[in-house]
């Protein structure tokens, strides 16, 4: 008899748990998916921060919008497109590799190649230069210096 309220309470807890569980699955967009898109977008009110990293209200609203669009069935690329149409390619943290942007993508590799070529050229030139002599010829002391040295030594002796 006393078990009845206990069972009822258990059932209630289970029901609440099931209810909250259903609520969680009703929002099928995972945080990771939202952040995956947000981390590729520039926070428009910051400098050099992604929408994922910025604590600003605008970035927060953008994350909300990304979640909403993903929930409505948009693919991540479509969500990115939505932002590009409004903010331009500027909003992408990684500019697409085409057109003039290719320069941006290839320049670092070009710089590495140029640097390597320079190191190679210099090292070859340095190796070609003769090693310094074991005993470098000491500068010759002329008679004038010899005389002056003697005179000064003599003055010190006084």
């Amino acid at each position: 008899m006393r078990a009845v309220p206990l069972v009822a309470a258990l059932l209630l807890i289970l029901a609440v748990a099931a209810g909250s569980g259903r609520e969680a699955t009703a929002a099928p967009v995972r945080d990771e998916d939202v952040l995956a898109v947000a981390s590729q977008l520039r926070c428009v009110v910051c400098q050099n921060l992604s929408v994922a990293d910025s604590p600003s209200e605008m970035a927060q609203q953008m994350r909300g919008l990304i979640r909403e669009r993903l929930a409505s069935g948009d693919r991540p690329e479509q969500v990115m497109d939505y932002f590009v149409q409004r903010y331009g390619e500027w909003v992408l943290l990684a500019p697409p590799a085409r057109g003039l942007n290719l320069l941006l993508w290839l320049a670092p590799f070009g710089a590495v190649v140029a640097g390597l070529a320079m190191v190679l050229m210099l090292s070859r030139r340095w190796r070609r230069r003769p090693a310094p002599l074991e005993s470098a010829p000491t500068p010759a002391v002329g008679p004038a210096e010899r005389e002056r040295l003697a005179a000064e030594l003599e003055r010190l002796g006084d």
Partner: protein, 199 residues
């Protein structure tokens, strides 16, 4: 060979210096909007006084859509009287002004409206949807939308009388010369679009 090498290094650095000189002189916040020349995104807002506002309701008029915030000092404080003045001068005919308070607290926005005695419609954008739809990245930003619902100009920073003279008033004449507003295909097909425009 040696002489050439000596000049080669500064010569190679020259384009880089040029690029930096150009880059550092541009404002990192002044980003051209891809929306200029395109149909204005539709919006639905509820004004602070409860009135429903939408882009459709502004068809046939030159709309000055201004995004502001009460914490945006001094630019928003400078432009508020200019906007109000323009609104009063047109009397809701021809040029209309609509303010959208973004990233703001409602009491603060209302205080701002009261402080400047703004009589043109103003609405909050609580989830930022309208401002993101318009690619807004700061306040104040102002869009000039022509009678056909096309964005013709985006102005970043405080709106001045000169902005109205140069970018808003010509749109009034232009539309009148072409014999009234023509609806944008697929965007609006409302009967009042065909009504000849006054003024």
């Amino acid at each position: 060979m040696k002489v050439r090498a000596r000049w080669l290094i500064p010569l190679a650095a020259l384009p880089l210096v040029g690029l930096l000189a150009y880059g550092f002189r541009t404002d990192p916040r002044a980003v051209p909007s891809p929306l200029v020349g395109r149909p204005a995104p539709d919006f639905e807002l509820t004004a602070f006084d409860g009135k429903a506002l939408s882009l459709q309701g502004y068809r046939g008029k030159v709309l000055v859509l201004n995004f502001w915030a009460s914490w945006c000092y001094p630019a928003c404080y400078e432009e508020a009287p200019v906007l109000e003045d323009a609104w009063r001068r047109s009397g809701g005919q021809g040029v209309v002004v609509l303010g959208v308070a973004i990233q703001d607290k409602e009491p603060a926005s209302k205080e701002f409206i009261q402080r400047f005695g703004l009589t043109f419609p103003n609405a909050p954008d609580p989830d930022g949807k309208v401002s993101i739809d318009y690619g807004v990245y700061g306040v104040p930003e102002t869009f000039v939308i022509d009678r056909r619902g096309m964005i013709r100009r985006k102005h970043v920073g405080a709106v001045t009388e000169a902005v109205f003279r140069e970018w808003v008033e010509p749109l009034l004449r232009e539309s009148a010369a072409s014999g009234g507003a023509r609806p944008v295909p697929g965007v609006a097909d409302r009967p009042d679009d065909r009504r000849p425009q006054a003024s």
